[in-house]
Amino acid sequence: MGVEGEVLGKLRERFRPSDAAIVRERVVRIGIERNDLLPVCRFLKETLGVEHLTCISAVDWRDRYECVYHLTSWSRNFMVQINARIPKDDPHIDSLTPLWNGANVHEREAYDLMGIVFDGHPNLVRILLPKDYEFHPLRKDFPQEVDRQYVSRRKIGGGG
């Protein structure tokens, strides 16, 4: 059982997420819609004692965006991975900067490379790319210059 089971139970009973699972020892994973993000994170921070936001990743699935949050609790030594689904045509989601200041830079990077807009961010400007760059390169529709050798086996076999 352990702390990950306890965390999973509390999250399930409070938010009823669509998919929630234990990944491995001390790691819980839940998938939520974007509107639930702030309540879940606030609950994690205030009730379950999550002090540290490790990372915010932005993923471009073909039918949606997903913002993956990795949160850590140092004191109770567990991690939570939150997959927040974002519709493709409206890439907005709440910013976590009110809760953790460390979210500031990660959200800027997600905006810069993937184009997801974080509502409530104090200074959402590009961070890695030049300020006047027009594209969001990490999106799947941004072309890759690929050589023959970098074409995957599946693609060679005719797949997508």
């Binding site: 490790t54 990372c55 993923v59 990795h70 030594n77 200041n101 979210a103 890695l128 790319l129 970098y150």
Partner: protein, 359 residues
């Protein structure tokens, strides 16, 4: 004179890498600071989507080129999560040994950069002289001094040569003595302490809030080291205690890294003594589907890779979490209220490596 913005960089001897620090000064005192990064952005995450899983180790080596094995190790752990393989015990121990050797080499490079920042130019030569020994050891085991391409998904590339253990112990014994010399060089005169004690103070709560990890966090009094909290590979079997200090200033960060070098020496000796026999690598599958993440205690803090595979032989998405990325943006907190001349002391003590920050 009022308040004005000064640009330190991007071309600047202090910055140790290519990034820009804008500081707002009122006379000599710093009121605010704003780092500007991205000069070394190489598009890693996009490139890694078109290269096969194992070929990406060549790239992850070059993320932080000073501390390459630790980054590739983290990536291999994340890929092993998706693929469901686990390195055999000997492979795990080899990864730990090379990890710690690389950590000492990285800390020595930091020391070699920090001394000249403060005017102690002799520290550059001395620390690099010691680093040469560790680079020689790493070359002995992996074939290259930097960017070694040594960890593999499922283990390591090759076993250690037969005389490696002997040389390693010799180097560690020699290094312990030399580390005392380096400490004396820095600490015997009070001038170093005049420059670093009380400079760049950050509190534990602030550090945690801003996502600072690693030696920078341990210097504020938090006993947080991923090698004890969330151990991976052979770390659960080794005795290890995180090094902490409570002041949170530049001197504390310096001391934590010096003590960490000693702790790494102990770890290496213990790992070498209890190294099991057997294979050093297990064969991973070529294709992988799923998502996995793994974090390790890199030389600079908590490094994390989040890898998603969609059934193909290359990743769908790779996300790199760099500890320096968060620490640099906590630096303005450390700098407020200090003088311009303290910027060097503070930024040097954070240990910036621009490669991993800009990806």
């Amino acid at each position: 004179m009022g308040e004005m913005w000064i640009n330190m960089g991007p071309q600047h001897p202090m910055t140790h890498g290519l990034w820009n620090l804008r500081i707002k000064v009122d006379g000599e005192t710093i009121v605010d600071a704003e780092p500007e990064i991205g000069y070394l952005h190489r598009g890693y995450e996009k490139i890694m989507e078109v290269r096969e899983f194992q070929k990406n180790v060549v790239l992850t080596d070059r993320l932080c080129y000073v501390s390459s094995i630790t980054w590739s190790h983290c990536y291999c752990l994340a890929c092993e999560e998706i693929m469901g393989v686990e390195a055999p015990p000997r492979g795990q121990y080899l990864r730990v040994v090379t990890n710690e050797l690389q950590r000492i080499a990285s800390h020595l490079m930091w020391l070699a950069a920090y001394g000249p920042d403060l005017g102690l130019l002799t520290a550059l030569l001395w620390a690099l002289r010691e680093r040469e020994l560790f680079l020689d050891l790493i070359q002995l085991i992996s074939g290259a001094r930097m960017n070694q391409n040594y960890p593999r998904i499922g283990g390591v590339r090759n076993d250690m040569p037969p005389d490696f253990e002997k040389y390693c112990r010799k180097v560690i014994a020699h290094f312990r003595k030399k580390l005392r010399d380096h400490e004396q060089l820095f600490e015997q005169s009070k001038l170093f302490q005049m420059r670093t004690v009380g400079v760049g103070r950050i509190s534990r709560a602030q550090a945690m809030d801003w996502g600072v990890t690693g030696p920078n966090l341990r210097a504020t009094g938090a006993r947080i080291d991923l090698r004890t909290l969330d151990p991976y590979d052979a770390y659960p079997d080794l005795t290890f205690e995180a090094v902490t200090r409570s002041e949170g200033d530049s001197y504390a960060r310096y001391k934590v890294r010096m003590e960490e070098m000693k702790a790494s020496c102990d770890l290496i000796e213990e790992a070498l003594a209890s190294m099991p026999e057997g294979p050093y690598r297990s064969k991973p599958p070529r294709r992988a589907e799923g998502e996995g993440f793994r974090r390790t205690e890199d030389s600079r803090g908590e490094a994390m890779f989040y890898v998603i595979g969609d059934g193909d032989d290359r990743p769908y998405r790779v996300k790199i979490r760099s500890p320096v990325y968060s620490s640099i943006f906590a630096a303005p907190l450390m700098m407020r209220g200090n003088k311009i001349a303290d910027v060097v002391a503070i930024m040097g003590s954070i240990d910036v490596c621009v490669g991993e920050m800009d990806k």
